[in-house]
Amino acid sequence: MKILVSVKRVPDPYAKITPNAAGTDINRDGLQMAVNPFDEIALEEAIRLKEAGKATEVVAVSIGGAECQEQLRTALAMGADRAILVQTDALLDAPSIAKILAAVFQREQPQLMLMGKQAIDMDENQVGQMLAARLNLPQATFASKITVENGSALVERETDNGIETIRVPLPAIITADLRLNQPRYVALTGIVRARSKPLETITPEQLGVSPQARVRLTHVESPPARKAGKRVSDVRELVRLLREEARVI
């Protein structure tokens, strides 16, 4: 079984993100970049499936500028077998990403595609579902447990109402939630080995797609700050204020 995993380059989740002076984008000066944490979880799951003998090959794919090679090298160091960069500087929205990934999927013909439920920059949570729709494949979003058996995947999903279990026949698209696993640290031997693993670069045109973004980010601002209130001295005062001032109990 071949597994395809998409990997997005995003700002480091612990970096302080601020608007730039013009308010047109975030301030990118000296900003550390990383693999989207949810994609890292998806990748870890794919590698574990390979280690468990359920998968034979793990292919990582990223879309963006040449700098995305950095995140693909991280994926290779974690344990992916090879990587594909769809290189483009075009402005892309979720439907365009889904179109490109669908073309990669059709070229690679994996039995399973894993990806993060959302990227921590735009927080859209759309691409996996759009990709599944385009490919007319089953989807299982927000996975917190995946069991692959007899050509299908039993997936526990984190929903607002609790843990929902569904079964999807493969091939399918599964998006990873936070609690699917704890990704491994990249070992030095992995980094060394990653250098000799294949990293192919192709263009959207070579895949036969030329998507155009219809959703455009035009302005970035800080949210309005909430101001601090008052300190109370004890429980009695708290209850009195909640009742008489705030009138919420």
């Binding site: 439907p95 989807q139 843990i163 279990t165 949210p223």
Partner: protein, 321 residues
Amino acid sequence: MRVLVVAETNGERVSEKTLPAIAFAQQKAPDNFTILAIGNNLQGVEMLTNYGAQAVLTVNHPALAKPLAERYAPVIAHYAQQLGVDAIVATTSTFSRDVLARAAGLLDAPMLSDIITFESANGKLVAKRPIYSANLIGTFEVEGTPVVMTVRGPAWGKPEPKASQSPVQAVEAPAEVPTRSEWISLQGSSGGRPDLTQARVVVSGGRPLKDPETFEKYIGGLADVLGGAVGATRAAVDAGIAPNELQVGQTGKTVAPELYIAVAVSGSVQHLAGMKDSKVIVAINTDPEAPIFQVADYGLVADLYQVVPELIELLKNDKGA
């Protein structure tokens, strides 16, 4: 603008979570919106008829008894096309994120997730939504219709009741509903408490609550005297103290109750993202420097093990008085 509101259902019953999406439609497409509710032997449809929708369409089919995206998305896409709508809208939730994004994929439609404002000007649609874990607000322009949107519940509130009733029309599921995905089970744990995203009062606890029993005793106990729901921080959930679906914050749920009581919650940016729209915030924490105090209306620097039982006792007694 013509809008299709997709009701949130679990296949059996319409959820009140639908209401903010109806409030959006009332504001942005008055007298020009239709509501679509999907399920099997669906209950609670009458809840949708009081808000001035042109019609409430119900699709009942045995294959739609559970809310599987693969099965619901084609129904939504079908009726969006048939009605020729400009926008397809639902309230942000795991249901709508799963189902609407797939419908957008089927329609090759642009999508905006979790919007807090929406304007249509000079033929352009402009919306604001939180980005970068709600550290920032982004303004987005969209071209092309239909536009698929999920709307952030607390930003849109409740719709206005209208005098006239919307007609309910039973309509057919499109001929080919795919049935490859199979629903197996749902393991919930609300324990009879109100839904976290709907509750008037939410009491949340953090990692210092030690274990599930302590968490239930103090956080659950306080929630119960207030008739409220229970929430938790990511740290508490990760530590196995509280179940996943109680997590409030950027990777969990967004809540905006009238009263949010944060007990032993430090107030990380990710947690604040999920609750800072609450009307009144109370923080109880031993650390006077905890960031939660910067957003709290009322702060009490104290040990939870001392003050929470006092609070429970006081509220209990006052109730009886």
